[in-house]
Point group: C2
Chain length 241, copies 2
């Protein structure tokens, strides 16, 4: 079972990696919190003993991960501010790796079905009356007679996102949105959008809402699955219910 010396390659540490690591540590230990503002690039470079370009590369990494936003100018809004929803970052990562064929569109749709099924069950279980009103408003808006394709898609996103948020799990909500955006961007690029007429899709939404109102998790999941299968017929693989 001995495979020999088994050297590990010496990992050369680049300057910006060290900068990222130190900021990560400040976050992990709670010395930096959401809303805090980082020192200016010049000050940070001086404090860490690296050049400004190295600090900037670290900023770009953290920005790509959705951890901070950088603003120009002066005043309270300027500078690098810790913020961040992970959503856009996740969407970007997923989209890129979809393009690189690291996983397939089917995988994404299937994963979305899996996660959203769970979310809608949770929503059916503990949605408040206010939550239900929110969903009702969205569904009603989609049934208006003059909705454009653009608006329809916008509201559809809002509907599904709302359900994910109702699950009470912020991570699930983030994943959901990222998955939906990924699929959306991809199908927008490839095929003409919204092949089936919106009537069936709107009926699906009403069915999902009805199941949630009835506090029936099982029926809600079923209605959700029906809806997604209609919207993305390419999902053929079997799945666990």
């Amino acid at each position: 079972m001995n495979d020999g010396p088994d050297w590990r390659p010496v990992k050369r540490v680049r300057a910006f990696e060290e900068v990222v690591a130190q900021i990560e540590e400040q976050i992990a230990t709670g010395r930096l919190r959401a809303g805090d503002k980082l020192p200016g690039e010049r000050a940070l470079a001086a404090a860490l003993g690296v050049s400004r370009p190295s600090v900037r590369e670290a900023m770009r990494v953290l920005e790509a991960m959705g951890v901070l936003v950088a603003n120009t100018g002066s005043g309270p809004e300027a500078g690098a501010i810790l913020a961040g929803s992970a959503g856009p970052a996740l969407t970007g990562v997923l989209g890129l790796h979809l393009g690189l064929a690291n996983f397939a569109v089917d995988d994404v749709v299937e994963t979305r079905l899996l996660i959203e099924s769970w979310a809608v069950e949770a929503a059916a279980r503990h949605a408040s009356e206010a939550d239900l009103d929110r969903l009702r408003a969205i569904v009603a808006a989609m049934d208006a007679p003059d909705v454009s394709t653009e608006q329809f898609n916008e509201q559809d996103t809002e509907f599904h996102t709302a359900i994910a948020e109702l699950s009470g799990n912020a991570l699930v909500a983030t994943f959901m949105r990222a998955l939906r955006d990924t699929v959306r961007r991809h199908q927008q690029r490839a095929v003409a959008e919204l092949g089936p007429d919106t009537g069936a899709l709107r009926a699906d939404h009403r069915a999902i809402l009805a199941a949630i109102e009835a506090r029936d998790p099982r029926a809600a999941a079923e209605a959700l699955a029906t809806h997604l299968r209609r919207a993305y017929p390419q999902v053929t693989r079997g799945r666990g219910r």
Copy 2:
């Protein structure tokens, strides 16, 4: 319903963003594929009409998203090579936002339970004999008398990762690994690891394996849930089925 002019803020486009966008496009349109090598930083800068630092910032972003790796020196291995598993990138994003309190550890564990339940069901459904052998080997290795805590954790990771891969969904496998790594790093940082003795955990593994061997998805999911609840007792919130 008219909300007025509704200006959108002019989004200033930074040079590196344009570079990233162009590379993304090359990937999306298939002109760049996994394994391809990008032009050198200097050449790219000249071709795009920007400076080398801007190109470098774009590289850092793509690298952070797990899309490419950069190597020094010369030869076939040198330069920026499109590669990439999304795993490490996801783990980083999740860890950071966990630190920023954008979501809770409970959310992560709960999500892992949700995803892995599905994965183990799928695995029970269509695992080949070779797949089963792989799982058996891992379980056997964990039952050896001289495993250190370090090794145990390593093999535990391998076991769960193998299950996720058996699901046949590469995205799910990637998520799974990222979620597990995130929880692992976090609990390593906070609490003494491996509170409960490993006996029960190993028995859980055997039970999961047995359920997969028996082609019983429901039992497999049940065993998996029991296992995770034992390993992460803090999960108290209700979950789907």
